[in-house]
Symmetry: C2
Subunit: 481 residues, 2 copies
C-alpha cells in the first residue's frame, strides 16, 4: 500500500475499532448523505439517491410483475382516522408529527404527517369496495413518511424516510395470507439476488409485530458487527382495519362480508444494510445491481497520445452495452488518488487503460470485492464485464452468507445465550415458551430481541431458555438496529 | 351512435354546457383521482398515477441527459430558514402547513412542510460550495410539496401535489441565465413532443414572478375553455438566496464570490392540462407518449374458437415490441360497452380482432382522436401501431395548435381587449407600459392576468392599452387556472 493510499484510507475509522464511527465515516466521505438543519432528517445526496433509484427500479418491476399498481395517497391524515384502529393508534400516536396550523389559521382538526398509510388508504378502500368484482385491490405507493424518533442515524432510523408501502384487499383469509407470503418472498429474492444480502425469513412475535396486524413476517439480515437489521416486513392485517373502516363487499352468495387485508414495505434503510453487510476497511462495497456506477474507468498516462481517445471509445461501448459506467478523466488528481477514491466509493469494477494496454489491445479489470486483476482483450470486453459483475455479486453474497453462518449460534440455556451474544456476536437461536414475560426478561438481561420465528427450521424439541417450561417456538434472537 | 354509447357518455357533462363539470366528470369517471378525507388533497388512482409515471420517466431522462442528478432533501424546513429571504417568505408564509408538535412534545421551533425547497437546499449548498471546482451543482428532486390553498381542484390546485424541482448553482450570471433558458426549452420540447401541448414561452412580469427570483420564465398553455394554464416555470434566482444563505466560493482569482442560482419545476397539474387541452365529448384523449395504455385490444365474439388465442398472440407480440397494451378479455361486458369505456379513458388506439379478421389475417385499428378505422395485415402490425401512435400524437398537437391560434387575439385598446376576452376567449396580446398599476387595473377590469412576455415576437410599437403611455412590452394576457 503506497503512501497515497495510506493517507487516504486513514480517514476511515477501522471497523474493529468503532463500527459505528466506521459507518458514519463511510456515509459522509462517500457522499451518500449529509446531515441537514432539521433534527433527525438527512439529505440523500446523488450517490446515495442513485442506489435508491436502482432499488426502486428493481422492486417496482417485481411489484408490477406480481400484478400491483402504483397510486398516491395524501401525506396528511386527520387525527380521527388515525384513532380508529386501537392497536394502530397506540403504536403510532407517540411518534407522529402534528400539523396544527394551515397558513395563519388554526385547524379545527389536527393532521398527522403519515407515519404509514393504512388508515387513509382504508378510508378510500371503504369507498371503492362494493362487490366481490372489485377484489382484489393490489396497490403500492412510493413516498416519504415521518416518525418522530428520538435517536436517529442516517438510513437506519431517521425522522423522515423514503419507502414503498403495498396495501392490498382480498375476498378471503387464504388469499390475504397468500399475498403476505408472496410479498415476503419478493423481498427475500430481492435482498439476495439484488442486494447480495442473505436473509432469515420468519414471523414476528406478538410483541414485535406491526401495530394493527394479525401477524408480521420479516426478512432479517445480519450486519458485520453482529447486530441484526429488519430489512423488510409483510403484514397480514386480517380484518382489523376492515371492521373499523367498514370495508365490506357483497359476495357472490348475496352476503355482505368484511375484506381481508395486507400491507408490506421496505425503506431507505436497505441502503444502511448494504453498507454494513458489504463494506470493508477501504470503504463502501456496492452490489453491482444497485451500484450507481458499475464500472469506473481510470486512464493511465492520460496525456499520452491516443489514451483518452481510446478510453472514450471503450466508454461508449460499455455504455451502449447497458452498463452504468463512468470515465474519470480529471487531470487534477493522480491515478493512485483516483484508485483510492473509487475503491472507497465501492464501485464493483475498476477498468484501467494505458498506452501499454492499448498496444496489446487489452484493458485491466480489477474487482472491488477481492482486488483480483484480469487482463481482458478488447474484443471480449462487454461479455467479460457482465461475467465479472455477476461474480462480484456472487462473491459478496457468499461472503455475507459465510459471515452470517459463522455468527449464528445455538444456545441451550441463558449462560450459553449470554456467552454467544457477548463473545461470539450475531444471531442466537434459542427455544422459547411463547410468554411475553420471558421475551421481555431475555431482552432486559441481554439486550437481544426476538427477531423472528424462522419459516424453515429443522424439527426441534426442548424447553424455554428463560423459564424452562416446554418451548413453543424456535427464535432467532439478536441485538438489532 | 348506438343506444349503448348514448347512455354511457350521457354521464359526462358536455363541455359547452359546463366546462368545469365536464372536467370533474372526466377525472372521477375515468378513475384518474378521487377526493380524500383531507380537505384539498386528492388520491391519485393508478390510471392517473400511470400518466405521472410516464411524465416522470420522460422528464427524468431529459434532466439526466442535460447533466442533472437526483437527490432528496427534507420535507420539513425550520421556520428560521424560510424567513431568511424576504420576498420568499412574504410569498410563501401565508400558505404553508405548520408542524408544531412531534409526538407529545411541543417543538421549540416550528417546522414548515415544504412549499418549495429553495431555503433548505440553499442551507446545504452553503455547506457544499467552497471552491470554483465545486461548481456547477445541478440537482433535481422528485417529491411532494404542500401549499395551504383555499380553493382547490384535483390536479390544478391542491393542498399537496407531486412535482420535480431543479436547483442549480453556478459561478457566473451568464451560466445561470443559460441554465434557466435551457430548462425552459426542455419543458417546451417536452410539452410539445410528449404531451402534444403547444405552449407560449415567455418571461413573467415582476408581479407574477416567483417569490425570490430575479426573473421567472414560463410555458403557458391554452385550455379548450379559453383559460390559460401555467404549465412549467424556470427561475433565474440571481444572487438573492446566495447572499442571505452565504453561498460563496473561492474563485480562480483568489476572490470570494457569491454563486448564481436557478430553480425550475413542473407538477402533477400537467395532467390537468392534458385533460383540458385534448379531452372531448366522449371523455379523455391521452397523448400516446404518456398514456398508461397505448393500445387496448377488444376481441369480438370472444367465445368463438380461436379468437382469444389469437388475441393473446397479438398481445404478446405488441408487448414484446414495447407498447403499453391491454387485452380486455372480460366476459361480463359487451363489446359496445368496452368500446365506450376505453374511449372515455382516452386510449389512443383500439384494436379489434374477431373471427372474420382472423380469417383475413388482419386486425382493425381505430384512432381515438379522429375515430379513423384501418384494416391492418397481421404481419405489419407493430410497425403500423408505431406509425398510428405517432399520427395520433401529431393529430392532437395540430388540433391543439389550431385551437390556440383561433383563440389568440390582438387588442389595440381596452374595448377590443374586453371584447376578445368575453366573446372570443383565449389569449389576448396587448401592449403594456410596464407599470404595476396598469397590470392591476387590467386584471381588475377583466379578470385577465399577464401570462408572459413572449420570447419570440415580431417587432411592434405602440402605447399601453390601459394608460396610453408608450408601451414597454407585448404581453399575452388571459384568464388563467
Amino acid at each position: 500500500m503506497g503512501k497515497d493510499k495510506q493517507e487516504f484510507v486513514a480517514h476511515i475509522t477501522p471497523r474493529e475499532e468503532d463500527f459505528s464511527r466506521w459507518y458514519t465515516d463511510i456515509i459522509l466521505k462517500t457522499d451518500l448523505v449529509d446531515y441537514s438543519p432539521v433534527r433527525g432528517s438527512m439529505v440523500i445526496k446523488p450517490y446515495g439517491y442513485g442506489i435508491w433509484e436502482n432499488i426502486q427500479e428493481e422492486l417496482d418491476g417485481r411489484f408490477k410483475a406480481t400484478g400491483h399498481k402504483n397510486a398516491y395517497f395524501p401525506l396528511f391524515i386527520p387525527e380521527s382516522l388515525l384513532q380508529k384502529e386501537a392497536d394502530h393508534v397506540e403504536g403510532f400516536a407517540p411518534e407522529v408529527a402534528w400539523v396544527t396550523h394551515g397558513g395563519n389559521e388554526k385547524l379545527t382538526e389536527r393532521l398527522v404527517v403519515r407515519p404509514t398509510s393504512e388508515t387513509i388508504i382504508c378510508a378510500m378502500y371503504a369507498k371503492w369496495v362494493q362487490s366481490y368484482r372489485d377484489l382484489p385491490i393490489l396497490y403500492n405507493q412510493w413516498c416519504n413518511v415521518v416518525r418522530w424518533e428520538k435517536t436517529t442515524r442516517p438510513f437506519l432510523r431517521t425522522l423522515e424516510f423514503l419507502w414503498q408501502e403495498g396495501h392490498t384487499v382480498h375476498a378471503t383469509e387464504e388469499e390475504a395470507q397468500e399475498e403476505t407470503m408472496k410479498m415476503l418472498e419478493v423481498y427475500r429474492e430481492f435482498a439476495e439476488n439484488v442486494l447480495a444480502i442473505p436473509v432469515v425469513t420468519g414471523k414476528k412475535t406478538e410483541k414485535e409485530k406491526f401495530a394493527g396486524a394479525v401477524s408480521t413476517y420479516t426478512i432479517e439480515a445480519l450486519m458485520q458487527d453482529g447486530q441484526a437489521l429488519q430489512a423488510g416486513t409483510s403484514h397480514n392485517l386480517g380484518q382489523h382495519f376492515a371492521k373499523v373502516f367498514d370495508i365490506e363487499y357483497l359476495d357472490r352468495d348475496g352476503q355482505q362480508k368484511y375484506v381481508w387485508q395486507t400491507s408490506w414495505g421496505v425503506t431507505t434503510r436497505l441502503i444502511g444494510a448494504v453498507i454494513m453487510v458489504h463494506g470493508d476497511e477501504r470503504g463502501l462495497v456496492l452490489p453491482p445491481k444497485v451500484a450507481p456506477v458499475q464500472v469506473v474507468m481510470v486512464p493511465i498516462a492520460i496525456h499520452k497520445d491516443g489514451v483518452l481517445e481510446k478510453a472514450n471509445e471503450v466508454f461508449d461501448e460499455l455504455k451502449a452495452a447497458g452498463f452504468r459506467v463512468e470515465l474519470d478523466d480529471r487531470d487534477t488528481q493522480s491515478v493512485g488518488w483516483k484508485f483510492n477514491e473509487w475503491e472507497m466509493k465501492g464501485v464493483p469494477l475498476r477498468l484501467e487503460i494505458g498506452p501499454k494496454d492499448i498496444e496489446k489491445n487489452q484493458v485491466v479489470l480489477v474487482r472491488r470485492d477481492n482486488h483480483k486483476k484480469s487482463f481482458v482483450p478488447m474484443d471480449r470486453l462487454a461479455d467479460t464485464v457482465a461475467t465479472l459483475l455477476d461474480e462480484v455479486h456472487s462473491g459478496l453474497y457468499e461472503k455475507a452468507l459465510a459471515m452470517r453462518e459463522a455468527h449464528t449460534h445455538i444456545a441451550h440455556n441463558m449462560d450459553e445465550f449470554k456467552d454467544a451474544l457477548e463473545n461470539k456476536k450475531g444471531f442466537v437461536k434459542a427455544l422459547w415458551c411463547g410468554d411475553r414475560e420471558c421475551e421481555d426478561s431475555i431482552k432486559d438481561q441481554t439486550g437481544a430481541s426476538a427477531r423472528c420465528m424462522p419459516l424453515d427450521e429443522e424439527p426441534w424439541e426442548g424447553n424455554c431458555i428463560c423459564c424452562q417450561e416446554k418451548a413453543q417456538h424456535m427464535i432467532y434472537f439478536a441485538r438489532a438496529y
